[in-house]
Structures are given as structure tokens and as C-alpha cells.
């Protein structure tokens, strides 16, 4: 277990970002419309989140009427949250009230080692399917000390598998992670590069790839773009193996600076998954392959939104600030400890 001071530094860093307008820009323009797609009629959005201490996302979508909150029972019956830090877990659980499943633990550990966490795994897998799964990781998804096929990657795979096993027809994943070339994993990057290169033998994909530098150069010159395409392709691959079609609906990036002065990017991918066949149809591997082949050009043609540039647009910062204010007031009213 990490020593207390390290934990506190990490928590301090996380706390300083909760008023971050860049993050909220992504919430408003990226996440909010997706919630709107699922909140239809009497259907309530089933939401799995790594919401962090202040659970801004849960409070925000509730305030927008997109996440069901039973005020009388002080309950979010369609929300599942997971938090590994003891103090943060306590704050979330105590301030939100009841949720469908409050789970203290490490998502990756629970998903990948069900024998060690049988009860937790059973509880968590019992909540599937979800309409939206928000994996807001605080760190990198490809880390230097880990093998390319690391626990985060495998946990994402497991989640897609659980969604398929729960017969989910359509869902979205919000994947947010840190991008910093200096601390990236060479092995994982090499694999991502090879995947991208292998796609470029296809004419349609090559056209879609456009004028970007070759993957090797892209990695060196535009690492965040390299990782954006690479991770999206990776997700598309997982989707195909689990009999889902994949679409990269949106992606966003913005810069941040650590307390130690290191610059890094935060990248968010908004990915849609859908079952390509009805429950009465037989599974057909060709259908998945075709779907995968179709989504590759779409990924290559996409481009990420530069959040910082958008916020420079006149009036945009004020709009975002105003939108976030009620949730911040609510959080401040909680007397955070």
C-alpha cells in the first residue's frame, strides 16, 4: 500500500482539478449529449463511473435531469461507482447517499482477479449492463514499467466482455487518460504503431489517414495524436472480438501541468459500441470484421478537439463557468473534509 504522504499528494492534485473548466468543457460538449441519447422516456441511464472524490460527473448529470436521483429516498438507483482510496470512497458514499453499488476497491484488481475478490467481482458484474461507462483514469493507460498488455488494457477488455455477456445492445465508453511521451511505455507504443501501420496497407484507411506523418514520426512529433488513434484502434479491435461495432464519436485533449512542473495532456475518447445483430441472429464473425474495417477510416478521419483553443473563443469560458457553478456550490456546501 502506498505511503500516506504519496496518497495525500495524489489526492491534493486531484482536488485542484475539480474546478477545471477544460474538464468541464468536455463534460458539456462531449459527455452531456451522449447522456441525452440514453435518457429517453421512462428509461433511466445506467451509469458506471470512476467518479473521484467529489463525484462532479454524477452531480452534474443529475442536475441536468439526465441521471435519475430519487430525492425522497436519497438514492441513485442506476449509478455504480468504484473508488480505491479509503478517504475518497468515504466521502463519495456519505455525500451521495445510496447508489446501485458503492464499491471500494481497485477496478483493475477486481476485474482481473475475481478469485481474490470474489464478492466484489460478483457484485460488480451483477450491475452490468450499463449505458455509459466512464473510465476517467488519473494516470496513463500505457505505463513505462508495465508490459504493453497491462492491467488497464486488460480491464477495459474485461468491461467490454461483461457488457457483451449482459446482452447490451448499445452503449458508450468515456475513456480519459494522461498522455506524456516522456513516461510512456516503449513496448506498448511499438505495438500500437504496428497496428496503425498494418491498417495503412488498406487504400481507404490510407486515404483517411491523410497528411499525418507516418506512425513512427507521428509518435515522435504528435504523441497525443498517435495515442488517440492507437487507443481508438485498440478499442475498435476489442469491440470486434466481443461482437460489437465501434464508432469514435468524439475526442478531446487539453494540457495540464503537474505540481512538479511537468507538462502533460489529458485525452478523452468518446466511443460508441453497438451489437451488430439482433438477439435472434446467429453470431457471424464476418460481420464483426466488416464492422471493424469500416470503423478504421472513421477513426483516421476524426480529429481531436483542442479544448484550450475552444475556451479562448469569446464568451466560452463564462458559459462553462456559469454551467458548472451550481455543482460547485453543492460541493462546497457539503463541507468537504
Amino acid at each position: 500500500m502506498a505511503d500516506f504522504q504519496t496518497i495525500e499528494k495524489r489526492r491534493q492534485r486531484a482536488r485542484s482539478t475539480y474546478t477545471d473548466l477544460k474538464k468541464h468543457y468536455v463534460r458539456i460538449t462531449g459527455w452531456l449529449p451522449i447522456f441525452g441519447q440514453y435518457k429517453t422516456g421512462s428509461h433511466h441511464v445506467r451509469y458506471l463511473t470512476l467518479c473521484a472524490k467529489l463525484a462532479i460527473d454524477i452531480r452534474y448529470f443529475r442536475s441536468k435531469g439526465l441521471l435519475f436521483f430519487d430525492k425522497q429516498q436519497q438514492s441513485y438507483p442506476f449509478v455504480t461507482f468504484i473508488e480505491r482510496d479509503s478517504q475518497d470512497y468515504a466521502f463519495i458514499a456519505e455525500s451521495l447517499g445510496r447508489t446501485r453499488l458503492p464499491l471500494k476497491g481497485d477496478l483493475e484488481e477486481i476485474l482481473l482477479n475475481p478469485a481474490d475478490y470474489p464478492k466484489e467481482f460478483k457484485d460488480l458484474s451483477g450491475t452490468f449492463p450499463h449505458d455509459i461507462i466512464n473510465l476517467d483514469f488519473t494516470g496513463e493507460v500505457v505505463r513505462p514499467a508495465d508490459p504493453p498488455y497491462n492491467t488497464t488494457i486488460r480491464a477495459i477488455e474485461k468491461i467490454v466482455e461483461l457488457q457483451r455477456k449482459a446482452s447490451c445492445k448499445r452503449w458508450h465508453m468515456f475513456l480519459t487518460f494522461r498522455v506524456r511521451r516522456e513516461t510512456a511505455s516503449g513496448g506498448a507504443d511499438d505495438e500500437l504503431r504496428r497496428i496503425i501501420e498494418s491498417n495503412l496497407v488498406n487504400e481507404a484507411a490510407r486515404t483517411a489517414y491523410g497528411t499525418r506523418p507516418a506512425p513512427m514520426e507521428l509518435r515522435a512529433q504528435e504523441y497525443k495524436e498517435f495515442l488517440r488513434i492507437g487507443m481508438a484502434k485498440f478499442l475498435a479491435g476489442i469491440a470486434a472480438t466481443q461482437d460489437f461495432t465501434f464508432a469514435l464519436d468524439d475526442s478531446y485533449y487539453y494540457e495540464r501541468t503537474s505540481p512538479e512542473g511537468e507538462k502533460y495532456y489529458i485525452l478523452t475518447l468518446i466511443a460508441g459500441f453497438a451489437a451488430p445483430r439482433s438477439s435472434s441472429q446467429l453470431q457471424d464473425p464476418r460481420r464483426a470484421v466488416v464492422a471493424y474495417a469500416r470503423c478504421v477510416p472513421q477513426i483516421f478521419m476524426s480529429s481531436a478537439v483542442d479544448v484550450v483553443a475552444r475556451l479562448r473563443t469569446a464568451g466560452e469560458s463564462e458559459r462553462i463557468t456559469t454551467d458548472l457553478r451550481p455543482v460547485l456550490d453543492e460541493v462546497e456546501g457539503l463541507g468537504v473534509v
Binding site: D3, F4, Q5, I7, E8, D70, Q72, Q73, Q74, S75, S86, Q87, Y89, A90, F91, A93, E94, S95, L96, G97, R98, L101, P102, L103, K104, K119, E120, D123, G335, V337
Partner: protein, 521 residues
């Protein structure tokens, strides 16, 4: 004969056993954490149970917090509380201190085997994390370690291991947060259980929301029928030093304002899984329910050992059974915290009073004198303690012998019950007579049954008193009370049969004769 002396020892595991088994219910253990927060001048305590699977419990209060040294002192000498060394009241809010012997933190041992404590003391720029593991000390080896003579420096009795680390914290923050993991399986299972299902009773659904709704949803019978989680909410809400539901405990009873006010002045809130708890006591269930309050059960007595017993209480009675059943009885609160649950025997009242016990609820706030009588589980009393005996005697006397009104509460209830029964009988008789009058005259006619002599020149209709019957103001002499109903019945039959053929004046004459006939009986 040679005398042999030998030391009396206790196995170390006894301490572990105590730490793991003091409290009878999950609420009993959590209640201790709430009491600790109250003593630490917290304004609010927030508890999360991890409902619905109960895998992780947390409890956070915004009280004065602890320094690492204080935490070590508490954990290092269980049962050696120094809370009351500097007085009977808390430092900042001047609340009467609840804790006395310093075992509150050990109540966690009943919930889990492993927990973390995070705390920052008032004014300190540091916080600490203590990780405590009790698991090794519940093993059989602990039974071989002896307390007593072996309690030398190098053979301390350990109940658990604790590690402390510090980190910076804002000096404006002060709190204590406890995160309990590795929940004892039985504890989690108990909370998920529906005990009544075992005996074939279908568990009832209850609303987990705000307290008023919760109370309404469990008020039909017994909280226990709704499962252990409902009981947890109930017990915590009933026993904690928190406010009553608005209007409670007894509606429209200004004589209890001082009790209400004392709890309001503490400004102490408890939240369980996001819901603020209030004492779920709001009687009568409807204002139309016949009820009576004995608002002043106040008592002070100096005891032989120098203690002083000081009591402020009340008893409530209603004509119907009090529900939920958990409210039937008297609840003793020592320093504002309920000790156990409502005692349906009224501290062992020696006479059988039958159904009355199910119609009564009472609270006794004991502010002084009774602490030493509380057993270690804080849910029962040592019944041989002088203060307890004095309290018992006082309660018995008020119940059986005297009230402010003279007679004992039970006698008063009996009188009130008779009064209500009489009024009901009068109402029923009036109704019956009205129906009879309708039969006699072929249409409904107003009937009044009076206890006094009727006014002269009474208006039309049938009037019956214990001594006479009047028809349209005319006196029918001398029908004895016991024959009144029969007389009216006979009148009805005659009237029905003769109304077509005999004029009204003749019929009245006939009634007069009949009245005389009945009078002659």
C-alpha cells in the same frame, strides 16, 4: 491447615472477545461512534453502510478530531478514558459527555477486523492515518496470553496492531473518519437478512427515504418485520442524541418543549446513507386518536454514595395499541442517549396491567447519577445499582400510586378508558335509538340521549334519559333504564303494524299505557 494463595489471571483473548462482542446489534456498535462524535463536539456524523451489499462501512464526523498521540493513548489503554477528567461537559459546545470508560472505538471490532482511522485535530496542521488490524488477536493463541501477573512492560496484552502515518492538513479542518473493511461476514449478512422470513413471515417493504416516510412505512406492525437494515435505521434514530421529527415526540404538547429544546440546542445531526435521521417518535398517529400525556415525571434524589439522581421524563398513553411495537415501553436515556430499546416491562413493573402496556410509551432523560449502572454493552443496566433501584422505585410509584392529578398513571388510564368507553356507549345508544325512532315514525328523527334532566318544553323527537322517555316532548313516565331498549323495540313493532290503521293520537295513548306497564315491572 496451610493457606495457599494464587493469582487470578484472565486470558488476553478476553479483551479481544470483549472488543468483538460487546454490542448486541449492528446499531449498538455504530451508536458508540455517534456518541464519540457527539462528545467531540461534532455538528454532523455521516455514516455509509455500503448498502445493499454492506462491504465497506464509513463514519465521518466534523468534531474536534484527534492527534496521533491521543489516538495512541486511546488505543494503547482501552478502557482508560480520560474524557471526563476535565469535567462533565465537552470543551466547545458544553455538551454533557456520554463516553466514560473509553471503549467506544473498540466497538469497530464488532463490525470489522481491519479499519483505517483518519483524523485531524482542531487547530492542527497535520492529519494522520492509522491502520488497525484486529485479526491476529482473535486467534486461539491469544487465549494463552494471560492478563494479570504477566502484565509487565514486555508482555502487554494486544488486541490489535496499529500503524500511524502523518501528512499535512489545513489547520481549519478537524474531523475523524473511520473506514471499516473486511466486514465480519455475520455482520453484513445480518444487515441483509430478513429474520422474519425464517419463521415464515413475509418480510415487508419499507421506504429507506426521509424519516417521516420511513416511519409511516414501518408503522403498521413491527420494525423487525422489515428486516435488519430497517432495524438499524430505527435503533440509531431512536437512541442517538438527535432531534425529534418536527412536532414530536407528542403532537401539540407544549409541556415537552424543554425536552425538544435541549436536543435542538445540541445542533447535532446524524446521516445514514445520505438520509438525515430524526427520532421517529410522533404520537398520536392521528390527532383523533384518544390519548393522554403525563408530561412531568421529574425526580431528583441524593443517593447514599454521594451521587445524585436527576430525571426528566414523561409517559404517553393512547386508546389504541402503539405502533410500531418497538415504541411500546419506556426508553431510558442517560445523558441523552438511549440505553437499549424501549423496555415494555417498565423496568420490571411488578403488577400485571395487561393491554395498557401496549398503549404506553415513555422517555426518561436521566442527566445524572445513572452512568455507573449501565452495563458495558450500553444497552442494559446493572439492576442492583442504587441509582437504578431509585429510578425503578420512582417509576413504579408514578405508575401505580400517584401522579400530578392524584391517582397513579395506571389508575388514571383506567379512568380515562372508562370515560372513553362510556362516551362510546352513549354514542352507540343514541345511534340505536335514532334507528328505532326511524322505525317507529317511518322516517329518521333526531334522538338525543342526555345525562341530565331534559329541558322543559323539549322539541319534537324521542328523548331518553336514565329516568324517562319523551316522545315529541311528551313524557312517558317511569320506563326503567334496563327496559328502555326493549320498550323502544316494542314501540317500533307496534308502530309499524298499526300506523296504517290507528291514528297517531291513539298510538301515543297506547305507548303511554305500555310505558306504565313497563314501569310496573
Amino acid at each position: 491447615m496451610a493457606t495457599e494463595s494464587f493469582p487470578i489471571n484472565v486470558a488476553a483473548s478476553v479483551i479481544a472477545d470483549i472488543s468483538a462482542g460487546i454490542y448486541r446489534t449492528p446499531a449498538g456498535a455504530l451508536k458508540e461512534l455517534i456518541s464519540n462524535a457527539f462528545d467531540a463536539d461534532a455538528k454532523s456524523v455521516r455514516i455509509s453502510t455500503g448498502d445493499p451489499h454492506f462491504r465497506t462501512f464509513t463514519c465521518t464526523d466534523d468534531g474536534s478530531g484527534m492527534t496521533p498521540a491521543k489516538f495512541k493513548e486511546i488505543m494503547g489503554l482501552i478502557g482508560g478514558s480520560s474524557k471526563r477528567d476535565s469535567g462533565q461537559y465537552s470543551e466547545f459546545c458544553r455538551r454533557p459527555l456520554i463516553g466514560r470508560i473509553g471503549i467506544g472505538l473498540l466497538s469497530i471490532g464488532q463490525i470489522c477486523r481491519r479499519f483505517e482511522v483518519f483524523s485531524s485535530a482542531r487547530g492542527s496542521d497535520k492529519k494522520f492515518r492509522a491502520r488497525v488490524n484486529l485479526a491476529p488477536y482473535t486467534r486461539p493463541e491469544a487465549r494463552r496470553i494471560q492478563l494479570g501477573t504477566q502484565l509487565a512492560k514486555d508482555s502487554k496484552v494486544k488486541v490489535g496492531d496499529a500503524e500511524i502515518e502523518e501528512a499535512p492538513e489545513s489547520s481549519e479542518k478537524h474531523y475523524t473518519r473511520i473506514v471499516m473493511e473486511d466486514i465480519i461476514p455475520g455482520f453484513a449478512e445480518q444487515l441483509q437478512s430478513e429474520p422474519m422470513a425464517v419463521i415464515g413471515v413475509t418480510p415487508r417493504k419499507f421506504k429507506k427515504g426521509d424519516m417521516r416516510t420511513f416511519l409511516a412505512s414501518v408503522s403498521n406492525d413491527q420494525v423487525a418485520r422489515h428486516g435488519a437494515y430497517a432495524q438499524l435505521i430505527w435503533e440509531l434514530a431512536v437512541t442517538a442524541p438527535i432531534q425529534y421529527l418536527p412536532g414530536g415526540p407528542i403532537r401539540d404538547c407544549p409541556q415537552l418543549d424543554d425536552i425538544r429544546r435541549r436536543l435542538e440546542e445540541f445542533r447535532f445531526s446524524v446521516y445514514l446513507d445520505g438520509v438525515e435521521l430524526f427520532k421517529p417518535i410522533l404520537l398520536p398517529p392521528a390527532m383523533s386518536t384518544a390519548h393522554k400525556v403525563y408530561p412531568r415525571l421529574d425526580y431528583e434524589k441524593s443517593l447514599g454514595d454521594g451521587r445524585k439522581l436527576s430525571v426528566r421524563g414523561y409517559i404517553y398513553w393512547q386508546k389504541t395499541r402503539i405502533l410500531p411495537r418497538e415504541l411500546q415501553g419506556v426508553l431510558v436515556r442517560v445523558r441523552n442517549v438511549g440505553v437499549g430499546t424501549c423496555d415494555p416491562t417498565y423496568l420490571g413493573y411488578p403488577r400485571h396491567e395487561g393491554w395498557k402496556f401496549s398503549q404506553m410509551f415513555g422517555e426518561l432523560y436521566v442527566d445524572e447519577g445513572l452512568d455507573e449502572a449501565i452495563n458495558i454493552d450500553r444497552a442494559s443496566f446493572r439492576e442492583t445499582d442504587e441509582a437504578y433501584l431509585a429510578l425503578q422505585e420512582f417509576l413504579f410509584q408514578r405508575l401505580g400510586k400517584e401522579t400530578d392529578e392524584g391517582a397513579g398513571i395506571f389508575s388514571s388510564i383506567k379512568a380515562a378508558t372508562s370515560e372513553i368507553a362510556h362516551r362510546r356507549k352513549v354514542k352507540e345508544t343514541a345511534g340505536r335509538l335514532q334507528r328505532t325512532a326511524a322505525v317507529i315514525y317511518g322516517r329518521p328523527r333526531p334522538v338525543t340521549l342526555t345525562e341530565t334532566e331534559p329541558d322543559e318544553g323539549a322539541p319534537s323527537g324521542v328523548k331518553v334519559t336514565p329516568n324517562e322517555v319523551r316522545v315529541d316532548g311528551e313524557l312517558l313516565q317511569g320506563v326503567p333504564v334496563k327496559y328502555r331498549d326493549l320498550f323502544m323495540g316494542v314501540c317500533a313493532v307496534l308502530d309499524k303494524k298499526l300506523s296504517a290503521s290507528v291514528p297517531a293520537t291513539r298510538r301515543r295513548e297506547l305507548l303511554r299505557k305500555l310505558a306504565e306497564l313497563f314501569a310496573a315491572q
